[in-house]
Each structure stands twice: as C-alpha cells, then as structure tokens.
C-alpha cells in the first residue's frame, strides 16, 4: 500500500514539476495573475472606497458575497462540532479539595456541582498542584492580547488586519485562559449559550449591514448607500467595511471558543486540557 502510494505521489509530483516549466518566473510583475482584475483593484480601490488596505477592501466590498458565506462556513463548522459532540449527561463524580489542609472530598452520585465556600476548590482529573506562575503570567497577558485583537479588528481597513485575524487572536486568548486555568473556569465566565448567541450575532451583523443597503436604494452589500446613516463623507464605504469586519470578528471569536471547548472535553464541558 505504502509503495503504491509512493509511486502515485512521485508520478503526480513529477507531472506537476514538469508543468511548472511553463509558469511565469517568481516575482514577475507581468505574470497572468497580476494583469487583469488585480491592477484594477490596486489603481481604483482608494478612489472608490477610501480604504487604504486593498486586501480588506477586496475581501469585504468587491468580494463581499464570498466573505459573507465564508462567515457562514465558519458558523456551520462550529454548529457541526456542537451537534456532533455535545453531550448533556453530566458526570456523576465530583472532587473537591480543601485548600488549607489538602484533603480531597469525593462526591459520588452528585447530579449537580455543590456550591462551596472559598476554602474548597473544584478538581478534575487533570488537576495539577503548582501552577501559580502559569496562572499569574497568563492573567497579566490575556487583557493585552484581547486589546491587541480589538486593535486588529478596528484597524482592519487601515493596516494589516481584519475581522478573521482579530477574531482568531481574541479566540486564542480565551483558549489560553482555558489552558492556564481550567476549562471549567472559562465555561463559567462565558456561558455556552452566550457563545452560541455571539456566533449567530456575528453572522447577523454582516448580513444585516449588507441587507440595510437594499431599502436605502442600493444593491445587496452596496455600502455607499449607507451615507444617510453614517455621516462620514467619502469614508462611508470604509465605515461599512468596518462594521462588517466587527461582525466577522465576533463570529470567529465565538466559533473558535466553541470548537475548542467541545473538542477538548468531548462535548461534556466539564474537564479538558
């Protein structure tokens, strides 16, 4: 089997390498990919949209439909993870550790978590005793990561950045929180229901901003028609893009957290990495 695979892969690779002989050289400004629509984007984007970042302008304005359904793809991936894995049968056994003495209580057949005072700490099977440095460093770092993520979203049409990138950074800060503390703490801070609502809200913001353009007299995703709502002069298209990017960022952030939480805990949301 492996031998056949090796032969197939080598043949395909040789064929592809033979084909590259016809390709344009690396960095050739007159290669076919850089001749037609790409030049139009570079020359006209600032004039038409007043967004300095061409990539954001093309992603959210010229190719707005593509990005909208891309957000829907992300939403469907999160929905699929939830539907495949979510398991609502809570576990029966719980462990509580008395912090001053280190004595561990084992509660059997407990349907719900007990409400305990500050002396008791909830434990799961991945509990490690000394992670003070991890916790402290991550507690200091996480707010800065989140502010950076918000900056990346907000500056998406002026500098490298955008909704997908900022959303992923924000989602990774949530994942860092779950790794440095434990999954339980994250799930308590941000409820599953809120994450689901945020994911749907992000897609709704995108589709909503795009749909508002229609009663204002334009086509779907024609941000120029938002001028009466956004008194920003010639920058109205850039502002429309910013709104759409915020929607994408919210959706991606929530979906990253949903995928992570469901996969590491096998859908039970109790313990994990």
């Amino acid at each position: 089997m492996k031998f056949i695979a090796l032969i197939v892969v080598s043949l395909t690779g040789a064929l592809l390498l033979y084909g590259t002989a016809e390709f344009p050289d690396w960095g050739d400004p007159s290669s076919p990919a850089s001749l037609h629509v790409s030049n139009y984007y570079i020359e006209k984007t600032y004039e038409e949209t007043h967004a300095p970042n061409f990539v954001t302008a093309v992603v959210t304005d010229y190719r707005g439909f593509d990005t909208m359904f891309e957000t829907a793809v992300i939403f469907c991936a999160g929905l699929g993870c939830f539907l495949l894995l979510r398991d609502f049968t809570g576990k029966k056994e719980h462990f509580y550790r008395h912090i001053p003495t280190g004595v561990i209580l084992h509660v059997k057949n407990g349907k719900k978590k007990l409400t305990t005072g500050k002396e008791f700490e909830y434990m799961d099977k991945d509990w490690v005793p000394h992670d003070l440095i991890n916790k402290t460093v991550c507690r200091i770092l996480i707010p800065f990561i989140q502010i950076y993520a918000l900056y990346v979203v907000a500056h998406g049409d002026y500098s490298p950045g955008g909704g997908f990138q900022g959303g992923v950074i924000f989602g990774s800060s949530l994942i860092l929180f779950a790794i440095s503390y434990d999954l339980q703490t994250l799930v308590e801070r941000i409820k599953e229901k809120i994450l689901g609502i945020l994911a749907a809200t992000g897609v709704l913001i995108y589709a909503g901003i795009a749909a508002i353009c229609m009663p204002m007299g334009g086509n779907f995703i024609d941000y120029g028609k938002l001028a009466p709502l956004l008194p920003a002069g010639s920058h109205v298209r850039a502002l429309g893009m910013l709104g759409v990017e915020i929607g994408v960022g919210i959706a991606v952030m929530a979906i990253m957290a949903i995928i992570y939480i469901n996969i590491v805990s096998e859908g039970r949301h109790d313990e994990g990495l």
Binding site: L6, F23, D28, V59, L84
Partner: protein, 130 residues
C-alpha cells in the same frame, strides 16, 4: 544540466509548493492513523496557500496597503508598486476554510474514538466488519 539550474532558481517557489503538496498527499494516502491523515490534509492546504501567495508577489513591490504619498488628490496609483491583493484575499478565505475543516475533522475523530476506541484505519476496518 546547465539549462536546468537557472530554470529551478527562477521558479523554486513552485518546487517548494509541489514538494509540500506531495508530502501532504502521501500522508493522506499512506498513513494509517486518522489524525496523521488530517495533518496531511493541512500540509496540502498550506502548500496551496504558499502557491497562491507566491504567484501574487512582484519584485520591488510593497505590501498592498496604500502609501500616504499616493493618497494625495490627483496622484495616480501604479499597479507595479504593490503586490497582487487578489491572491492574498483568496488565501484569507482559504485559511478560514482550512480552520473550519480542521475543527470539523477533529470533532469527527473524537466521535470515532469515543465509539471504537481506536484511530488506526486497519483496526477500524476490522471493527466495522465484525
């Protein structure tokens, strides 16, 4: 041989992408473990991303964000000054799709492991035929 070397040097980005892509394809075909197959799929997608980004590159061009000197009224933006934004856009969305497929594949793998307690393909086939 003398003809081949300049050909490779001028187009070595394509060689890189073909090699990476074949590593991914080999992993998808030959590996027995499902997680390794998914990793192979990710390498394959990365090769495609590398290919697209490299065909958008132009020598002596800057990133596709307009320079402040070009924003003044009446200035003409020259296309040769900026790299191709279109390939970057397409790959932005491709990265999103790869995250989505990877997350969904991992979810499927977790389900398979919960049901069959294994991720090796031959063992799975044995369990299925039982």
């Amino acid at each position: 041989m003398n003809d081949l070397l300049p050909l490779i040097v001028a187009k070595y980005n394509y060689w890189m992408y073909v090699i990476l892509m074949m590593i991914g394809l080999y992993a998808m075909i030959a590996k027995n473990n499902l997680v390794k197959k998914v990793v192979g799929m990710n390498i394959f997608q990365t090769a495609i991303i590398l290919f697209y980004v490299s065909i958008g590159y132009k020598t002596d061009a800057s990133i596709p964000i307009i320079k402040s000197s070009d924003t003044a009224h009446g200035m003409v933006v020259r296309a040769a000054d900026y790299i191709n934004p279109l390939t970057s856009c397409l790959m932005l969305t491709a990265i999103v799709v790869s995250v989505a497929t990877f997350g969904f594949a991992m979810a499927l793998i977790v389900r398979i492991y919960r049901r069959y307690q294994t991720l090796e393909e031959d063992e799975l086939r044995m369990r299925l035929s039982e």
